[in-house]
Every structure is written in C-alpha cells, then in structure tokens.
C-alpha cells in the first residue's frame, strides 16, 4: 500500500472495505467455533485470539494507529496491560470463592 501525506494510507477507501470484509469473516468464524462445540478451554483460547485479531484490525486501520509514531503507539498500548494484570490478579480470589462454596 502506498503511503500518502503524514504516513497516512493513500489511494481511496479500498483499505477500509478490505478491513470490513475481514472483520466479518472473523465474526462468522467466532460464531462457527461456538456452534461446532469444541472443548471449553480450546473454545476460550480461540475466541480470545479471534477477538484480539479483530481489535487489532480496528485499532490499526480504522483508528489509524498503525500510521502514528511509535512513541504514541507505546503510550496508548502500554496502559492496557493494567487491564490484563487486573484480570490475572483477581482470578485466584475467584477460585478461592468457588472453593469456599
């Protein structure tokens, strides 16, 4: 893809419809893996990976983050690990709660 002014994609709107197409393909895949009944743990991993792929497509192309400076990309992506840390910090307590039942 050619890059225009300010590192932005140049050459019309085609890239957005390509991303749109792949987002729909991934959504259909998500519904597909639910309907074929794979083991629970595998299902969880597949769904999270597919969701992260969709998230990356939206952030990189629709929100143009791919075309921003690297320092800016780090600045907005780094805080998101707090969310991941929060989840893994609380899971042990949730399992304790389950055991106390």
């Amino acid at each position: 893809m050619s890059e225009g002014e300010g590192g932005r994609p140049h050459g019309g709107y085609r890239v957005y419809w390509v991303v749109w197409f792949w987002l729909l393909v991934i959504t259909v895949l998500e519904l597909g893996v639910v309907l074929v009944h794979v083991p629970r743990a595998l299902l969880a991993i597949m769904l999270v990976v597919l969701a992260l792929m969709k998230a990356w497509l939206i952030i990189a192309y629709f929100m143009h983050l791919k075309y921003e400076r690297l320092s800016f990309i780090y600045a907005v992506i780094a805080p998101l690990f707090l969310g991941v840390i929060l989840f893994f910090a609380l899971v042990p307590d949730a399992l304790d709660g389950l055991r106390l039942r």
Partner: protein, 206 residues
C-alpha cells in the same frame, strides 16, 4: 560515549525537551486517545468483575439457550458496518469531500440507531422473561446483573456516540470544524465497536 549514542541522545533531548510535539498528533486527538485509554480500563474493570463473578459462581446459565445468537450476530454485523462507514467518512472529510463525508456519517448514525433498536428489543424481551437486575429465572442472580450493567454501559456509549456524530455532521457541514474533529469523532465510534468485539465474545459466546 560513541558518536552514534551521542547523536541518539541529542535526538531524544530535542524531541522530549519541550517546545515540541513528541507524539506528532494534535492535542485534541491526544486527549481523545487518553480518554479512550481510560474508558478501556473502565470496561476492563467491568469485564473482569464479570469474569470474577462467573468463575466464583461455579455454574452459569447456558447463554445459547437464553440469548438469540442470530440477533447478537446481526448486532455485531451492524456495528462493524457502521465502523467501516465511519472510516470512509473520516477519509472523505480529510480529502475535502464534504458531501460524501456527510453521507457516510449519516450511514454510521443509522447503524448506531439500528444497533440500539436491537438492544431495546433484546432488553425488553429479557425483562419480559423475568430478568431483573438482581434476580432472574435461570438460577444465578448475578447473571442478569452482569448482562444489564455491561450491555447498559455499552449502550450508553452508543447513544452518546450517535448524538456526538449528529453534532459532528451538522458542524462539519456548516464548516465550523476541521477534518481533524471528524477523525476524533471517528476514534470514539471505533472504540464503541472495539468494546463490542469483547462483549460479544465474553458475554454471549464464551
């Protein structure tokens, strides 16, 4: 210190030493990104609480029997389409194609309204079946609490986005705002789509 290191340090100092824009984005856009980062953490908190409740509950209703996955799939489809039309509107506004920008913002608004309509239907159906904030017929009281709070928060974001986009469309048409403002409105709208990606997977499918 080698000369390469010295050059690099000098480069960093001149970039971060003040009087520059090290991120190379305007401040309105930077502020919107910062807002979206903190809003992401709000939803991360909600979804983590949902995960906690669900793991600690030990059992959970089978979502496929309660939710209409075709309706939810359609809602995802609508939101993805509206995100794509918004991306086109932003690009059109950047090259100065105002009529196209207006048309595509309005398509986006239409998508948002269809999504909200589906959500109203889903909620009223759910309530009609006996679901309340802290009680429901499916055995796990917090099941409906997580559903109403998380989809409610998201729906409120969609509603705010629809209003935001309408204001943006009018002001852009009157030439009161620059293309950058359309892009910022677009960032917000894509974020709403982004959150739905995770709600769709974690609340409905998993």
């Amino acid at each position: 210190m080698t000369s390469a290191e010295a050059t690099q340090e000098q480069g960093l100092r001149s970039e971060w030493g003040g009087g520059q824009s090290p991120f190379a984005v305007g401040w309105p856009k930077l502020m919107m990104w910062l807002f979206l980062v903190q809003d992401t953490l709000t939803f991360a908190g909600l979804l983590t609480a949902y995960g906690f409740v669900r793991i600690a509950a030990g059992r959970w209703p089978v979502q496929e029997e309660i939710f209409n996955l075709y309706l939810v799939g359609f809602m995802s489809f609508v939101l993805i389409c509206s995100s794509a039309t918004m991306a086109v509107a932003v690009a059109a506004s950047r090259v100065g194609d105002r009529p196209r920008a207006l048309r595509y913002i309005l398509y986006t608004v239409l998508g948002g309204l269809v999504f909200l309509g589906c959500q109203v239907y889903e909620w009223s159906h759910f309530i009609h079946e006996g679901a309340r904030l802290f009680s429901n017929p499916w055995g796990v009281p917090l099941f409906s609490a997580t559903f109403f709070i998380i989809t409610g928060f998201h729906g409120a974001h969609v509603t705010a986005g629809v209003i935001y986009l309408l204001v943006t469309a009018v002001r852009h048409q009157r030439r009161e705002i620059q293309p950058e403002s359309v892009e910022i409105a677009g960032l917000y709208w894509h974020f709403v789509d982004l959150v739905w990606v995770f709600i769709f997977v974690l609340l409905y499918l998993l």
